[in-house]
């Protein structure tokens, strides 16, 4: 493994561990203002959507909003199943089946 990758990994460890250790290790000396806590609540939706959207509408960098884009159709299926049932794993399995079938047929 190259030195660059080691530097990547160590930095990612620090960025992850610092957040997890914050309160558990430093206890009550830390305190978040309520506004920050509320802002943090929006982070997962914002980050995950920002990752998903470009990959779904433009796999490989080419914008493809048609029904024969398996990434787009699969993402919509995953979203609908999860939204309706609340089951993450079910949504992943169903959407993966649709995605796989489309890749195989098209």
């Amino acid at each position: 493994m190259s030195d660059f990758l080691w530097v990547v990994v160590i930095g990612m460890f620090v960025a992850t561990y610092a957040v997890r250790a914050s309160f558990v290790v430093f206890g009550q000396r830390l305190r978040f203002p309520p506004a920050v806590v509320q802002a943090l609540g929006h982070v997962p939706v914002a980050v995950l959507t920002a990752i998903v959207v470009p990959e779904a509408i433009a796999p490989g960098g080419q914008l493809n909003l048609s029904i024969d884009n398996p990434y787009l159709v699969g993402t919509i299926v995953a979203g609908l199943v999860a939204w309706k049932t609340g089951h993450t794993l079910a949504a992943v399995l169903v959407s993966f089946a649709v995605f796989g079938a489309m890749r195989w047929l098209l």
């Binding site: 990994v9 990612m12 992850t16 997890r20 558990v24 802002a39 609540g41 999860a82 993450t88 959407s95």
Partner: protein, 241 residues
Amino acid sequence: MPNRTTVALTGLRDTLPLTVGTTPFAVIFGTLVVSAGLPPAAALALSAIVFAGSAQFISISLISGGAALPVIWLTTFVVNLRHALYSATIQPATKKWPLPWRVIGAFWLTDECFAVFERRMQDANEHETLPYYLGVAVPFYLNWIGWTAVGAYLGNRIPGVATLGLDFAMIATFTAMIAPQFKTLVPVAVAATAGSVAWLAQGLPYKLGLMLAALAGVAVGVLLDCRQRRQLRRETVEEAV
């Protein structure tokens, strides 16, 4: 008082569905790292040292997309910020742990370990929280590393694994994680903003678009929260009058 081993085994049993559920993702992660042209050791190092599923997946696309170091680190930090809330939530249950255990235990504070531990920490006896937490976290951690190794091995062995579309697994999982929240206006607006900005800012260097999109989404969320709070206050005042 049940002994520590029994308590730890209860923790292991309570986590089992999540351990099994994350196994495919560990395999896919290992495979993806190798198919992105990175060495299998990188897959193991990320799983063993960073141990943060979504950040690990994102890092592959950032590294292979040529992102700058600070961008990779900052994105990891932003993606994992939610863990600060977990850390704050379990703090009361962990404050009696010896310091070395708090230092080590914090490392394993993933979404899954938090979800299981949080459910049990209130009604557990205070001597039981540490063995229970270790029963939750350690097998889950070892399972994640082990199946990452299997994935990396398979990725090396199966030709053409890169064209199988395994990257869709990450997209499907993220979508399934956020979609149940789209039942009120604010998360929908946050997602719409973040998604649009991510698409429009794609051309930015060093993959900075992702962070810009996340910030824009959070900003919209905060603005809408403020507006709702103001509205609520106005209604309360009107009722009082």
